[in-house]
């Protein structure tokens, strides 16, 4: 049926509106009567930090020598409010991922890897396990709407507290954990019956709105005797207002998670359609911090689709102080490994495509509670892989910062960036490359 000129034959023309994914989803929905729930993050094409480029040094500014000249990477969170501020050696942290969604070995691997390079990990919707406390030198304790496993003893053991208002994959939605993953230990930690399809609360049970949240943060600080900083995590929806209100509520750091952000289990319709991309969210959060005169004082942590040192450098240049990684960290410890291709095939998928973090049958042993599968992940090797990866990101970030003449990565600024598309220029509020045009701001 092939055409002489290599074109698709007329009778195999794929519809743009009803492509094969759309058709398969309609068929799946018709067969099952349930919305698609999956892991990973948005898969459709979205504006990303790849739509920005770094300008580097030139005649008017000089670069620093790679490897030789110092280029700092450290970040301190909560210097003014907490007796023990969080001190990170690199501005790249590991995002909140629950024990339950991840195996105990995976949590251990994340802790080992992050600790080896002097950065933090974060608990998740389901409480703190002794394994992760032991293996994470800096552990952020999430305070979530569900309050599963929420325990003041663990709160006091934490190095920081993160009040989760939302997540980039699902701003406005609560957590999910499917029955296959609610085994005895997970059920007990969350006070739930084994095997149920857990749908966590999407709203905190004892506060509504920023005025209440300010009082909630006072309570949290009182309970830990003002020892550790408090972060607020929001899904990127209205980042200008959410950041401003987080500052008002008393946060030491605001974590803004863009719509690309990963998830362990969420409705596909949420993952792909709710929230705004990271590149659009960071500048709005920064604008709020600047308007309140607290930029670089109240720290901004950007998340959602951060993959490389280039992403880290660009996020910082846009005004973030640090980033946090979910999906990339899981890939680093072994997710979607081509060595497991036969097993991915048996699940009807392929390495590089697998997204079913919700299913509990992860061949790499990361997003599972099945003891046999979980035992496949060696937490020491996983930790080494993560440390290597984080080191690469840190050095890449420094490489870009030095090329821009910065003695600390935090000195990167929007002036170091240009946009490749009109859309990215408008969202990131940096000029379209080769022009001085920022859509919506100036006409040049």
């Amino acid at each position: 049926m092939s055409q002489p000129n290599g074109q698709q034959p007329w009778n195999l023309r794929e519809s743009y509106t009803y492509d094969r994914n759309v058709i398969a989803e309609i068929q799946r929905a018709a067969n099952t009567g349930i919305y698609r729930i999956r892991g990973w993050g948005a898969k459709r094409e979205l504006p990303t930090l790849d739509d920005l480029v770094v300008l580097g040094a030139s005649m008017s500014r000089y670069p620093l020598e790679g490897y030789r000249e110092a280029c700092g990477t450290d970040v301190v969170i909560g210097a003014d409010t907490a007796e023990n501020p969080v001190r990170l050696d690199i501005p790249i942290t590991i995002a909140g991922m629950s024990f339950g969604s991840l195996s105990a070995n995976a949590k251990e691997a994340l802790g080992r890897g992050a600790s080896a390079v002097g950065t933090s990990t974060t608990t998740g919707d389901g409480g703190m396990t002794p394994e992760e406390r032991t293996h994470s030198s800096t552990l952020v304790y999430q305070y979530l709407p569900s309050r599963y496993g929420m325990n003041p003893d663990d709160l006091r053991k934490a190095d920081a507290i993160e009040v989760v208002v939302g997540q980039g994959a699902k701003p406005g939605g609560g957590g999910m954990l499917m029955g296959q993953k609610i085994n005895e230990r997970v059920a007990e930690m969350r006070t739930l019956p084994e095997g149920i399809d857990q749908r966590s609360a999407c709203r905190h049970p004892d506060w509504t709105g920023p005025d209440d949240l300010a009082i909630k943060i006072t309570e949290l600080r009182e309970i830990v005797d003002h020892r550790v900083p408090v972060y607020i995590k929001v899904g990127a929806a209205r980042p200008y207002y959410d950041t401003a209100l987080s500052v008002k509520a008393g946060a030491d750091a605001v974590v803004v998670d863009g719509m690309q952000g990963g998830t362990a289990a969420t409705q596909n319709v949420f993952i792909e359609h709710v929230g705004i991309p990271t590149i659009a969210a960071i500048p709005e959060a920064v604008r709020a911090l600047q308007d309140l005169g607290v930029h670089r004082e109240v720290k901004l942590v950007a998340a959602g689709g951060i993959r490389s040192g280039a992403d880290v450098a660009k996020a910082i240049a846009l005004g973030a102080d640090a980033v946090s990684l979910g999906t990339a960290a899981l890939i680093a410890i072994g997710d979607n490994d081509p060595a497991l291709e036969a097993e991915y095939n048996a699940l009807g998928t392929s390495a590089g495509f697998w997204e079913d973090f919700q299913a509990g049958n992860d061949p790499a042993g990361i997003t599972t509670q099945d003891p046999e599968l979980a035992s496949r992940l060696d937490p020491i090797i996983g930790g080494r892989r993560l440390a290597n990866y984080l080191n690469v990101l840190a050095v890449e970030t420094q490489t870009i910062a030095r090329a821009c003449g910065k003695s600390h990565v935090a000195n990167l600024e929007p002036e170091d960036l240009a946009a490749l598309t009109v859309e990215a220029a408008a969202m990131a509020k940096v000029p379209l490359a080769g022009t001085s045009w920022i859509p919506g701001q100036n006409q040049a």
Partner: protein, 231 residues
């Protein structure tokens, strides 16, 4: 034993809480709370605290072990996430009293506002008066005993918590149903009433629990059914 007095007209809540966190035992009397927030939050010892007056949000938040008695009313989130010990107030509490409590006993002699016992995870709550709407919403474990009436949508999306109401229930939430009052329920009710120091006849209560119909998603599989039909 001697009693320490903290007059919140003169000292800050921070000083009070710091002292309560630093002591393993002792009796403390708090004067002039004037609606202050987070009073006696984060106790984790056998201290006994008497608060003379009304408190703001999150009084006795995340309470462990000791006893806190409020001689007055309390605002939002009284004894939220209580783990153990006792919190007892003579007046009424507003929203979300005992929210997410994992254990211990919360007694409210007056009324409780909306979402009393929301997401409760093992706490026992006894309310002398009425509870507001959406009480015990998503309640996972523990007991809510209400001597008065309950507002709309009681026990919505309930898991394994038990709710006992003596008076009228305006409406039940999704998946919450009336259940038989078993001998062990009568025991639970009388045990909690006596712990709370409140009198009522256990047999006058009605029990409500989860129909457990929301526990798992309903998934059809027409293709599998057809394939089976052919084989």
């Amino acid at each position: 034993m001697s009693e320490s007095i903290f007059d919140l007209a003169d000292v800050t809540v921070r000083e009070l809480n710091q002292t309560l966190h630093a002591n393993e035992s002792g009796t403390f009397r708090v004067l002039n709370p004037r609606g202050a927030h987070a009073v006696a939050a984060g106790i984790n010892s056998d201290v006994e605290v008497h608060i003379e007056g009304s408190v703001g949000y999150y009084c006795a938040g995340m309470h462990q072990r000791g006893t806190v008695r409020v001689h007055g009313n309390a605002s939002t989130g009284l004894a939220e996430n209580i783990m153990s010990g006792t919190v007892h107030i003579t007046g009424s509490a507003t929203m979300s009293a005992g929210a997410t409590g994992h254990g211990g006993l919360l007694v409210i002699e007056g009324n409780a506002g909306s979402r009393c016992g929301i997401s409760m995870k093992g706490v026992d709550i006894v309310v002398g008066g009425n509870v507001g709407h959406m009480s015990a919403f998503m309640g996972q474990a523990g007991n809510l005993v209400v001597l008065g009436d309950a507002g709309a949508d009681l026990g919505d999306s309930l898991y394994e918590a038990d709710i006992y109401v003596r008076g009228a229930v305006e409406s039940l939430g999704s998946d919450c149903v009336e259940k038989e009052l078993r001998p062990e329920d009568l025991e639970t009710i009388s045990r909690l009433l006596s712990a709370a120091g409140l009198a009522a006849e256990p047999t006058d209560f009605t029990r409500y629990g989860s129909a457990r119909e929301l526990y798992n998603f309903n998934v059809d599989d027409i293709n599998a059914e057809l394939a089976e039909g052919q084989s």
